[in-house]
């Protein structure tokens, strides 16, 4: 019988048995719910950025509303004006939230007037309105003098406001997408890598492995297991990404950055590579244990490496996506799955580095698999207690 058929049968068993299980279906449903929820709930709570509602008490100076609107426009703010016949009516509206702020000013501009909030004063809004009222009164004074009106208008033009390194909405979105990607890869590797680990221990514990290995090569069993569970991981990732994109587009919360399609492709590629690397390591370490408790001990080194790689990616890459640390981490198989998609999300990695990193990681996976399969073969049939790595290696080599 060809080996690929054996591997395929093992993989298919994993896909059907686990894919049908309540645990997997619930976890897919749950993550989808959380993703969609995390977009919809803020949209319901906060909604769009709304205009500040300003109530003006009559009688008011002519042009007050226009002045406030003009000032708001100049500072890129939205206001919605309304008028009330007297102070009591305006304050009532303020109390029940119909307006956010009330402006009261003598119609003949004889006094500075007042700005009232309900509970908290909003300095930004207050200054905006104050600028309008002061300007109105100052204009009245200046109108009576023989000032050059044209020169005055020119003098009142506000300074231009700029930032040295302006952060566009696109940059923020890139940062967000990059971070979500790194977290997804970490969570994906852990949850499905540990499924491989527990699967290996269960097979060993239930002793079914003895029946299986009387026909299937240990290496093929490990490969089929990793591939089958990996296929479920890809299914979950696709569901997750589709749900997130759909929710983002539907709620309009997030303007998708220009890098989105590339980032998703990177996420898929590096999820697969990272999963293959870590699940192979977890799979053969699991074979060294004979009980679940021992398995989590055996897996500690892998967990540590994954966590360190993740934090290197988060801190070093976000700090300086093209720096030395980020570049070195690009070419190390354990950290590449976290670092490369993150750098790519910031557009801070040349294509040749991506290509080389993929090749190095694939080579790393292959070496780990060949070494791991031998340890796995030596350890998985051993029943008594926790086995040492060296003994497993030797026993398979005999």
């Amino acid at each position: 019988m060809p080996r690929w058929r054996s591997v395929w049968l093992v993989a298919r068993r994993e896909i059907f048995e686990r894919g049908r299980s309540r645990g997997f279906i619930l976890s897919v449903a749950f993550t989808t719910l959380i993703v969609v929820g995390s977009f919809i709930v803020p949209a319901l709570l906060f909604g769009e950025d709304e205009a500040t509602k300003v109530g003006v008490v009559e009688p008011a100076p002519t042009g007050l509303a226009a002045a406030i609107e003009a000032t708001a426009e100049r500072f890129d703010q939205d206001v919605a004006m309304s008028t009330y016949p007297d102070a009591a009516a305006a304050d009532a509206a303020l109390g029940n939230g119909t307006v956010d702020v009330v402006v009261e000013m003598p119609a003949d501009l004889s006094g500075p007037g007042g700005i009232r909030f309900d509970k908290e004063t909003d300095q930004g809004t207050a200054q905006l309105i104050a600028t309008a009222t002061i300007g109105l009164r100052a204009q009245a004074v200046l109108d009576q003098s023989d000032v050059d009106q044209a020169a005055l208008a020119a003098a009142q033009r506000p300074p231009t406001i700029t930032a040295l390194e302006p952060q566009t909405e696109d940059d923020q979105a890139k940062f967000l997408v990059a971070n979500i990607g790194a977290v997804l890869i970490l969570v994906g590797i852990f949850s499905f890598g540990f499924t491989v680990l527990t699967g290996v221990v269960e097979e060993k514990q239930s002793r079914v492995v003895e029946v299986v290995l009387s026909t299937v090569r240990a290496r093929d069993l490990l490969m089929g297991k990793v591939l089958g569970i990996g296929a479920l991981g890809v299914v979950q990732l696709v569901v997750f990404v589709v749900a997130a994109l759909a929710a983002a587009l539907a709620t309009n919360r997030l303007t998708l950055p220009t890098t989105t399609p590339g980032a998703i492709a990177m996420l898929g590629l590096w999820f697969v590579l990272g999963y293959l690397l870590y699940s192979t390591a977890l799979g053969f370490l699991g074979a060294l244990a004979s009980r679940m408790e021992e398995a989590s001990n055996a897996s500690t080194p892998v967990t540590m490496v994954a966590m360190i790689s993740y934090f290197v990616a988060i801190f070093a890459v976000i700090d300086d996506p093209s720096g030395t640390v980020a570049t070195i981490a690009t070419f190390l198989p354990p950290s590449a799955p976290f670092v490369v998609p993150l750098r790519a999300a910031f557009d801070a990695i040349p294509p040749w580095q991506i290509g080389l990193s993929v090749l190095i990681t694939m080579a790393g996976i292959w070496i780990l698999f060949v070494v791991g399969a031998r340890v796995y073969a030596g350890a998985v049939l051993q029943v008594v207690g926790r086995m040492k790595l060296r003994d497993a290696w030797r026993s398979a080599g005999e």
Partner: protein, 304 residues
């Protein structure tokens, strides 16, 4: 024909196999016997490549057994194990396919064997929902589902009730009748005597006796003698060196005696001791052959 040739295997300081050699012919049921730790399971694991011998080889029909050959073998390990949460029919079909059967053929074979085992109504149950005895039947079906040329069963009867044992022996006999080679290990020697034509007895990794049961019996230097003398607990035997007392219960003694023993003389002594109610002489039982064959071990290893 299965040939086990000069297998040697150590686990650290423990010698598991030390030149184990025997053969099993198609259509014959071979009982593979030995005290605990004698090397039965290790030998079987060597047949399936689950243990690597340091020396020696396993041959099937003249050529060394490899993975493709093993696809035509069926194995029931001593440590039972199947996937607990997998449905029974799917599980059988899975193992059939791993032995090379195409999907549809495997599905049909799974259902056929479940029916044969009286488990047709449990096809869609998960294995863990079945009773211990039924799980054991599924385990046997797993070894049989791909219609193997050789069946290797490690303690297939342990933990079974009499009905289960009857099903198992029926199936094993039927397969042997179809020309399948069967090797099984067991500690239930009466059952082995009932089911097997040939036996192989192993002790400390070496085969100490093998061949058809009848031949072994007639070749044995000692015969079985059971005597009942009213009112005597066998003191009339005292001082005899040519016999071994197996058991004394009440008036009855069971003995192994040399073939050269003078039966008239023994009968005379028994008569002198009291009224002889029974004096039965004949070939030894398998259990007696076994004890005799592994005798040097019994003191240290014991028999389960």
């Amino acid at each position: 024909m299965l040939e086990i040739l000069d297998l040697a295997k150590r686990y650290g300081p423990v010698v598991a196999l030390d030149g184990t050699t025997f053969t099993a012919r198609p259509g014959r049921i071979v009982g593979f016997l030995g005290p605990n730790g004698a090397g039965k399971t290790t030998t079987m694991r060597c047949v399936f490549g689950l243990a690597r011998p340091e020396r020696g080889e396993v041959r099937w029909k003249g050529s060394i057994v490899d993975r493709d050959t093993r696809l035509r073998f069926g194995y029931m390990p001593e440590q039972r194990g199947l996937y607990p949460r997998m449905r029974v029919a799917e599980q059988l079909s899975y193992f059939a396919q791993q032995h090379g059967l195409p999907g549809k053929v495997a599905n049909a074979a799974a259902l056929r064997w479940l029916e044969r085992m009286g488990l047709a109504d449990r096809a869609k149950s998960k294995l863990e929902e079945l009773s211990h005895g039924n799980q054991q039947r599924v385990q046997l079906a797993t070894a049989l589902v791909h219609d193997p040329e050789l069946l290797v069963l490690d303690e297939p009867f342990s933990g079974l009730d009499p009905i289960g044992i009857a099903t198992m022996t029926d199936v094993v006999r039927e397969r042997a009748g179809a020309g399948v080679g069967v090797v099984f290990s067991s500690h239930q020697l009466d059952l082995v005597e009932d089911v097997c034509e040939d036996v192989v007895i192993i002790a400390r990794g070496r085969v100490v006796a093998s061949g058809p049961i009848e031949e072994l019996k007639s070749a044995s230097g000692r015969q079985h003698l059971e005597v009942e003398v009213a009112g005597s607990d066998g003191e009339w035997l005292d001082g005899r060196r040519d016999l071994t007392v197996l058991e004394r219960s009440g008036d009855r003694v069971k003995l192994l005696v040399d073939r050269s023993v003078d039966l008239d003389d023994l009968l005379g002594r028994a008569r002198a001791a009291g009224e002889v109610r029974m004096f039965a002489y004949g070939p030894p039982k398998l259990s007696e052959l076994f004890m005799e064959a592994v005798a040097p071990d019994v003191a240290t290893e014991g028999v389960a």
